[in-house]
């Protein structure tokens, strides 16, 4: 059961929130937030706390560090003062950030690392499938794919070749074959 907790607009919490499940924050929090699920910090939210979660989406104001095991997204309207850490980090236009950013590494612990790697794969540019060991090695050095040596690039099948056709050429071909 996906339990979503909500801290509404009229809420002020001084203390900590911990546990499993997703969390949506629209109110004010001073303290700590540590949740196993996803955290959404909505517009109008005002948070003075470190936030640790699987995935963090920010549209409000945060003074504190953000650590997203799978990723952190700062969307339009986000105002963050603090460090941001996550397997993948997205900062949209219109988001404000002052602090350090560290991508690539899972937030903490081995448990998150496997999941983070799985989540990071689809966002990387398309590439031939490799042995898992290579993926892990590539993850270690920050910018994953480009850093891989050429010999490993040759190991997999080459990327599919798409013939370059002029605009409308494909339609013309289809018409001709009919």
């Amino acid at each position: 059961m996906a339990d979503v907790s909500v801290v509404g607009q009229g809420i002020f919490l001084r203390g900590s929130i911990r546990g499993e499940g997703d969390l949506e924050i629209r109110g004010r929090i001073e303290g700590d937030v540590e949740v196993g699920g996803d955290v959404t910090i909505g517009e109008g939210a005002l948070i003075k706390a470190d936030v640790t979660a699987r995935r963090i989406t920010v549209r409000g104001a945060v003074a504190g560090n953000l650590a997203g095991e799978d990723g952190v997204r700062l969307e339009q309207g986000a105002r963050v003062v603090g460090d941001v850490r996550g397997a993948s980090i997205g900062i949209a236009e219109g988001a404000l950030l002052r602090g350090n950013v560290q991508t690539g590494h899972a937030a903490e612990g081995q448990r998150g690392r496997g999941r983070a790697a799985a989540a990071a794969r689809p966002t990387a540019r398309p590439e031939p499938r490799k042995a898992p060991a290579v993926t892990v090695a590539a993850k270690g050095n920050g910018s994953p794919r480009r850093g891989a040596p050429a010999s490993e690039e040759r190991a997999g099948p080459p990327p599919p070749v798409v013939p370059a056709l002029k605009k409308g050429a494909r339609a013309a071909l289809r018409k001709r074959s009919r």
Binding site: G8, R14, R18, G21
Partner: protein, 104 residues
């Protein structure tokens, strides 16, 4: 649905102040002050003093409770602490230990 939900599996520690209704299914420790309705559902564990306009208890509360309107202790609910409210109902099957002050 309530504006604020503390779902099952979530633990809040500290002081929670609210202008709106609060639904508790998880765990709360500390203090809760609400200007609106507070519902403590079955399965919830609250170790806090609660003040609200109205309070319904289906879960477990340890702490003193104040309501400007009413307190409803439902079947299966468990309250250890004092109650101060103008109206109080205790359903059959609820357990309660504490003083009652109904400002007579």
């Amino acid at each position: 649905m309530a504006n604020t939900v503390i779902a099952h599996g979530i633990t809040i520690e500290g002081e929670l102040t609210s202008d709106e209704d609060v639904l508790i299914q998880g765990t709360l420790r500390g203090k809760l002050v609400s200007k609106d309705i507070v519902k403590v559902e079955s399965g919830a564990v609250v170790e806090a003093d609660i003040s609200a306009s109205s309070l319904s208890v289906g879960g477990q509360i340890t702490g003193n409770v104040t309501a400007s309107d009413r307190v409803d202790l439902m079947a299966g609910g468990r309250l250890i602490g004092d109650v101060k409210a103008s109206r109080l109902t205790i359903a059959d099957g609820a357990s309660f230990k504490g003083n009652v002050d109904m400002d007579v």
